[in-house]
Symmetry: C2
Subunit: 340 residues, 2 copies
C-alpha cells in the first residue's frame, strides 16, 4: 500500500499525525510519501500544486489529507487551487460523507435522536466548476455570475454509485436533495436521472426533498434519511449540518472517491484547518482517524477499517465530554485500542 | 389601507382567514380585495398570474399571501410563475425573515438557547433568476446550467437595507453569509459591497460566515447572529433552518419588501401549502398572523403590529404544546387578545 500524505495547514498537521499513528497500528508497513503542500509552501515558493507533484500523487493507492487554509493566504486561494483542484483533477466524483451519531456522543438536538445516514455529494461539477465571471468589476454596474454546470454523465455516475450503496444498507432508501422547484434546468436533470437509474434498482425506495426542507427534517427527524444524493454545493451545506447534529465536525470523516479506481481517492476530515488552535494539542483527531478507516475500507482492507471504527466507537462511548484528552492522547488511545 | 389578499393553495387558505381575523380585530375597516390565484384557478382556466391581475395588485398598499403549491400542478410551476414572479415583478428585493425563539416554545435544540436574529435574504436575483438552460436534453450528453446573476445594484441595495436594520438593534452586528471561497465571482461582489457599505455604518460590527459554517453555528450557538444578509438561495436554506430551530416554520413569518415603496410589499408565512392537512382546521395560523404584524409594521402601523406580536407572545407562552388548538381556535384566541 502506497500512500500520499498531505497534512496541509493548521490542525491538519496535528490530526494527520494521529491518523497515521492509528493506521500504522492496524496495518504496519504502509509506504508513505508526505507532500508539503499548503500555506507554508505557498508563502515560501508561491507554489500551490505543481504539475510534477500532481503527477507523483497520481501514483499512490490513496491520499490522506489533513486540512487546507490559512489566514496568511487570501481566502479561497488554497481551497480552490489545492483542495478543489485535487478533487477535480483526480475526478473524485463521489464525496462520501457518513453521518452517524455514535453512542456516548451528545448531539445539540434534544433527545439525542438516532442518526445514521450517508451523503453522496457530487464532487466534480455543479456550482463548484469556477465557471462564471465579472463584468464591469468594481463599478456600480458590476455583474457577477456563477454558473452551475451539470452533465448527464456527471450526475448519472454519482447517482448510480449512491443507489449501489443504498443496496448495501438495511433501510434501502435513497433521497435526492435539490431545489427542483426553482433550479429547473439542473433540478430537472437530477430528477430525471434518479428516476431513470431507479429502474435498475427496484429494491430501493426513492424519495425527493428540497434542500430547504432538509434543514427542517435534519433537526426534527434525522432518522428519516438513509442515503442522500445531491450536488456539490447542497452537499457541502447538508453535510456540515449533518456533522453538527452528530456531535460536531470534529468527528465527521469524508472520502473523495473515484469509484472507477482510475485515480487515487483522497480521504480527509470534514473540518477545516482551525488556525486558532493549530499546534496546541487541542484538535480532536477522531475525524481524521475515521477518514483513514474509510480509506482502508475503500482499499479493500475491511477488517482493518472495522478495527479502527470499533476503537473509535468504544472510545467515544467512554470519553469524558468535558475532558476528552489532547490530540496526541486521543490518537494514542485509538491506536492502542485498534491494535489490540 | 387597501390590501390585496392571495390565500393561494392548501393551508394558505386556512391560515389567511385567521390572519385577516386578527387584522380586523386590531385595525377595523381595512379594504380588502381577494385574488383567486393558485392551483384551482390554474386547473380551471390555465391562468397563473394574468397581467391584468398583476396590474391591479400593484394598486394595493400591501399584499397578504397564504401559500402556493399543489400536487395537482407539476412541481415548480406555480412556485415560479406565481410566487417568484410576484417577488420579481414587484421588485421585492428584501426578503425579511425574523428568527425568534419565543418563550414557551420548544426548540429541537437541547437547552432551548436564545435565538433572536433577522435574515435579509435578497429577493430578486442570484440563483433565482431562471437563467440557464439545457443542451441535448434527455440524451446521455445533456448539459444543464443554472446561472446565478448578481449585480452591484442588486447586492448593494439589500446590503444597505440590512445595515440600516442593524442600526436599530441593540447588538448592532451584521453577518454576511456566502460561500466566497468557492463562488469567487459572486462572493467577491458580495464581500466588497459589504466592506464598502460598512464604511457608512461605523457603529455596526461586521462579520462573515461561509454558508456551511452557518449550519454548525445555528445548531450550536444561534445567539451569535443578529442581522444576517445573504443571497436568494442561501437565504432560502438558512431561513428554513432558522425557522426549524425556533420551533418550526409553523411560526415563521416573512415579508417580501420593497423598501423604496414603489410597489406593494407582500407578507407570507415561510411554510408551504401542506396539502395533506389543508381544510382540516389543523394548520397553525401563527406564522400568517405574525406576517400580518410585519405588514402593519411596514405600513407604519407600529402600535397595531405590536399588539398582534404581544398577543402571539402571550399565547405561545401559555399554549399546551400537545394541544395548541385548531386553526380557527388559535385565530380567535389571537384576535381576542390582540383587540383587548
Ligand atoms: C474548503 C471548502 C472549499 C470545502 C468545500 O466547500 O467543499 C469544504 O467546505 C468541504 O466541505 O470540504
Ligand atoms: C416555494 C419556493 C419557491 C420558495 C423559495 O424558494 O423562495 C420557498 O421555499 C420560500 O422560502 O419562500
Amino acid at each position: 500500500m502506497k500512500l500520499g500524505v498531505i497534512p496541509g495547514d493548521g490542525i491538519g498537521i496535528d490530526v494527520t499525525a494521529e491518523a497515521l499513528r492509528v493506521l500504522d497500528a492496524v496495518v504496519p508497513g504502509v509506504e508513505k510519501v508526505e507532500y508539503d503542500l499548503g500555506a507554508s509552501r505557498y508563502r515560501r515558493t508561491g507554489e500551490i500544486l505543481p504539475d510534477s507533484v500532481l503527477h507523483e500523487v497520481r501514483g499512490h493507492d490513496a491520499i490522506l489529507l489533513g486540512a487546507i487554509g490559512d489566514p496568511s493566504v487570501p481566502p479561497g486561494v488554497l481551497e480552490r487551487d489545492l483542495l478543489l483542484r485535487l478533487r477535480f483533477e483526480l475526478d473524485h466524483y463521489v464525496n462520501l460523507r457518513p453521518a452517524r451519531l455514535y453512542p456516548g456522543v451528545t448531539s445539540p438536538l434534544a433527545g439525542n435522536p438516532e442518526i445514521d445516514f450517508v451523503v453522496y455529494r457530487e464532487g466534480t461539477e455543479g456550482p463548484y466548476t469556477g465557471n462564471g465571471g465579472t463584468l464591469r468589476r468594481g463599478t456600480p454596474h458590476e455583474v457577477a455570475t456563477e454558473v452551475s454546470v451539470n452533465t448527464a454523465f456527471g450526475v448519472e455516475r454519482v447517482v448510480r454509485a449512491a443507489f449501489r450503496h443504498a443496496q448495501t444498507r438495511p433501510a434501502k432508501r435513497l433521497t435526492l436533495v435539490h431545489k427542483t422547484n426553482v433550479l429547473k434546468f439542473a433540478g430537472g436533470l437530477w430528477q430525471r436521472t434518479v428516476d431513470a437509474v431507479s429502474a435498475e434498482f427496484p429494491g430501493i425506495t426513492v424519495d425527493y426533498n428540497h434542500v430547504d426542507a432538509v434543514m427542517i427534517h435534519l433537526v426534527t427527524h434525522p432518522e428519516r434519511y438513509d442515503v442522500i444524493v445531491t450536488d456539490n454545493l447542497f452537499g457541502d451545506i447538508v453535510t456540515d449540518l449533518a456533522g453538527a447534529i452528530c456531535g460536531g465536525i470534529g468527528l465527521a470523516a469524508s472520502g473523495n472517491i473515484n469509484p472507477d479506481r482510475t485515480t487515487p481517492s483522497m480521504f480527509e476530515p470534514v473540518h477545516g484547518s482551525a488556525p486558532d488552535i493549530a499546534g496546541q494539542d487541542k484538535a480532536d483527531p477522531t475525524a481524521a482517524v475515521l477518514s483513514a478507516a474509510l480509506m482502508l475500507d475503500h482499499l479493500g482492507e475491511r477488517q482493518a477499517a472495522a478495527k479502527i471504527e470499533a476503537a473509535v466507537r468504544a472510545d467515544l462511548a467512554s470519553r469524558d465530554p468535558e475532558n476528552p484528552g489532547g490530540t496526541r492522547e486521543i490518537g494514542e488511545r485509538l491506536a492502542q485500542a485498534a491494535a489490540s
